[in-house]
Symmetry: C2
Subunit: 270 residues, 2 copies
């Protein structure tokens, strides 16, 4: 790839650099419909999922890794732009001491509920009022691992396109369908077709392994601190709980989702 | 509880406040052998586990929650000190916008390997070179949930007594035994008695559900980015893997540990 197709930027006050930095904030992501992803591993996952960056940022005067070269070729072929800049600017953009040396800007891709094909997978993950971006990204990563169809975010969840969530997803942000929906709309959509809504809760005696999960199963997990609202639990087809042998009465939200999702997957594998 | 037994501190430059703040840094924790925990829920878990703070910090001129009153009584009864200070100082100590209104300083409690009674539990968690404090705390929380005996930290792991790890543990830092050990010492100790060492790895075809786990089972998880070193895998009695249905080839370290730990627990429940 000829360097002449790259644009060089050397100043911190360059408008493109400022724009990149602004995408760390939700309001700018929302306005632009774009988000940032960092690091060769995640950007390569994106490419494998058919997503090329609108803008690719690489470090100047550096021999690119073959995967990074491929990213550059594909970005240009898709009509995107490639920028080279200094390590210092990348470090400032990244806000980390050991920054990733490659950054991409992508179009965000929340899907409308109506576009989901519920028969395309036997497992769907649903999170309500999730607050922690690391939990959200980890749940996306788990969704990819168990072959879930996507993640449906109910009510006021943390932004799935935040830098922290994208990082924790390890690329699953590009492979999982993502829907954001108010509860009532989700429930209307769910009840318009087949689907078993299963909530994890302390308010039940049903062991998660004694239940039978019928596809498509929608696994609903609540807010980290408060769990699910009472009326949301009442709307579930089934509430289940995991055995808790110690002092605590709950698991981390991403952990609970994963233990549940693997149980559903394991029943289907048998 | 009479307020006269409290010490009032109103200045940011007070030595006790400075000391509290310094405990956010590992070197100060190590030197003092103390660590910070925040919030009524975690401090109450500590009390339930028989741990009282050396120093308890509460907000002045506030009606204490009954659980906080109990914490104050128990702290004084155990010879600890209670300090009241302003919300502004607590906020500064906490470094969060919505700080917890109660903070405790506790003695750290890493146990020597020789003190572990391996027959006291059928599951032990072992993590190698874990870097993320949230993962470490979440693994402690999962350990409590599955009734693990404790967490053994191999090689250069993140500090389990860091504020982030303590927070993510949701109190399990007080209920789980914690050991820090170099690999060779751990292996010598392990092989001096019964114990099945099980590593999660991509370098195997053994499905984690097809294996039989014999107590005491030691579940070994590797570094978030690199997994386990090759010779560590070779030292395991068994390597297992979880099914991965998507694009990614691995789970978050805390998620993988939890899925494994619940499989072991579920086999024992049958």
């Amino acid at each position: 790839m000829s360097d002449s197709q790259r644009r060089q930027i050397s100043g911190f006050s360059n408008p493109t650099i400022k724009r990149l930095k602004s995408l760390r904030e939700k309001k700018h992501r929302k306005r632009e419909g774009h988000f940032l992803a960092e690091g060769l591993r995640i950007l390569t996952e994106a490419l494998d999922a058919g997503k090329t960056p609108k803008l690719l940022v690489v470090v100047e005067e550096t021999e690119l890794h073959p995967l990074a070269q491929k990213l550059e070729t594909e970005t240009l072929a898709a009509g995107g732009e490639v920028i080279e800049t200094s390590e210092a600017i990348i470090a400032k953009l990244s806000g980390k001491t050991n920054p990733q040396s490659i950054i991409g800007i992508y179009e965000d891709h929340p899907a409308p509920l109506a576009e989901l094909d519920r028969s395309s997978s036997g497992i769907w993950l649903v999170a309500q009022a999730l607050r922690d971006p690391g939990n959200l990204g980890t749940i996306l990563r788990t969704g990819d691992a168990v072959g879930a169809g996507g993640l449906i975010l109910i009510d006021d969840c943390v932004d799935p396109f935040s830098v922290e969530a994208v990082r924790a997803s390890m690329g699953a942000i590009f492979t999982q369908q993502i829907v954001m929906s108010p509860w009532s709309e989700f429930l209307d959509w769910l009840r318009s077709g087949p689907g078993q809504l299963v909530g994890t809760s302390l308010n039940t005696d049903t062991d998660y392994q004694s239940a039978t999960y019928a596809p498509p199963t929608f696994l609903l997990v609540g807010n980290e601190a408060r769990g699910l609202p009472e009326d949301y639990e009442e709307a579930c087809d089934m509430l289940v709980k995991m055995p808790m042998m110690g002092k605590a009465d709950s698991l981390n939200a991403a952990v609970a989702t994963a233990v549940m999702a693997y149980e559903v997957l394991n029943q289907r594998r048998k």
